[in-house]
Amino acid sequence: MKKLHTDDMMAYVDGTLDPTRLAQVEAYLEHNAEDAAMLAEMKMALGALHEWDEAEPVRVSENFWPELRDKLPAAPPQRSWLRGTASQLGSWLWPSKSPLRLSARVAAVAVFVALLASFFAPKNATRPTIARDLTPADQAFIQQSMARHDAYVTSQSLGGGSTLLRSGDGRDADGDGDDSDADAEDYIP
């Protein structure tokens, strides 16, 4: 067996290895006394660390909050208008204690969204929509291209191809591979 990876050593010390991997690591340690001794020392050192922490616990003094309260600014923290609006909207939609009220609100929002969508939807939205002033040759070319594209998208969806081509897949909008929203970072004061 080749040299143990650090992750395995850490998991061994943490006691989080699955039984199969644990057996492999223990087999390795039987033939590698140096690593075995190091990990044994690490375990003992962590035991000593925990013992020290338990022997000298840290607790705040009883007047922690009164002292802190006196230091806080008199005015409550300011809320930006954007957060305020979002909060009001959120409190209208979600904190209801009655499931019926919540359902009614969700239904109302759904109806509103449907009305909005029908208002803005183009009158003739069925495909294929081709401008009437194109020549028959252009129309034929465009129709052919759209058919090819549809076939390609269908084949990708069935065959597990690129997720970016799947319609309705809104994941990883910022394209950095981590599904993160860079604008949602918390400011650290």
Partner: protein
């Protein structure tokens, strides 16, 4: 407004959700909501600062300062991370600032050979003897003292992960969020911190279960 009843213990996402609720209520001007947040995290943050700074009084100062900063900037907390992660990041930055200030204004230097009390001349300073014969058996108090010393003398970056993971029981993922670094970096630092601790405690470990 009717105050909501909160259970005494919270776990996982439920705790995070309720932290967000408390933040919103605090932003509405409800000081008791912020008091609940303080009550929930005051011991953890103070303990973290105490282990980082090796000074309980200074740790309480840092914890209070962290809560004050959090209160003033509460509106900038968007919930991208958990409230506790955000608070730990604030506390970590404050601990780093304190450590820098200490370095800029070092305490009075002394020689280890110099008597501790010149007037009474009671002898040399009591320093843990790393070369002590292990077979003598080492008192647990001495071991604790050595643990405290080792943690205190560790580089900040190693101490941070050791305290958060092995003392406070935080997950690698949360530590990575607090320190704004990859999980691999957290694991690597933790490995070095544990190895350093084990190496420094080696002379004291024999004879101790």
């Amino acid at each position: 407004m009717v105050a909501m009843a909160y259970p005494k213990t919270w776990t996982g996402s439920e705790e995070v959700d309720n932290d967000l609720l408390l933040v919103e209520r605090a932003l509405d001007g409800e000081l008791p909501a912020f008091e609940q947040l303080v009550s929930r995290y005051q011991n953890r943050i103070t303990a973290y600062a105490a282990r980082m700074l090796n000074d309980h009084d200074e740790a309480e100062d840092v914890a209070q300062e962290a809560f004050i900063k959090a209160y003033r900037s509460l509106d900038s907390f968007r919930g991208a991370s958990s409230f506790s992660t955000w608070l730990y990041r604030i506390a970590t930055n404050l601990c780093i600032d304190r450590a820098r200030k200490r370095k800029r204004s070092p305490q009075q230097a002394y020689s280890l050979d110099e008597p501790f009390d010149k007037d009474e001349d009671k002898g040399g300073r009591d320093v843990p003897d790393l070369t002590a014969e292990p077979s003598r058996g080492v008192e647990r108090d001495e071991l604790r003292q050595q643990v405290r010393l080792t943690v205190a003398e560790m580089p900040d970056k190693l101490r941070q992960v050791l305290v958060m993971c092995d003392i406070q029981g935080m997950a690698y993922e949360q530590i990575a969020q607090v320190l704004d670094c990859p999980i691999g970096t957290v694991k690597s630092r933790l490995f070095h911190a544990r190895a350093d601790l084990a190496r420094r405690l080696r002379p004291y470990m024999h004879g101790v279960k």
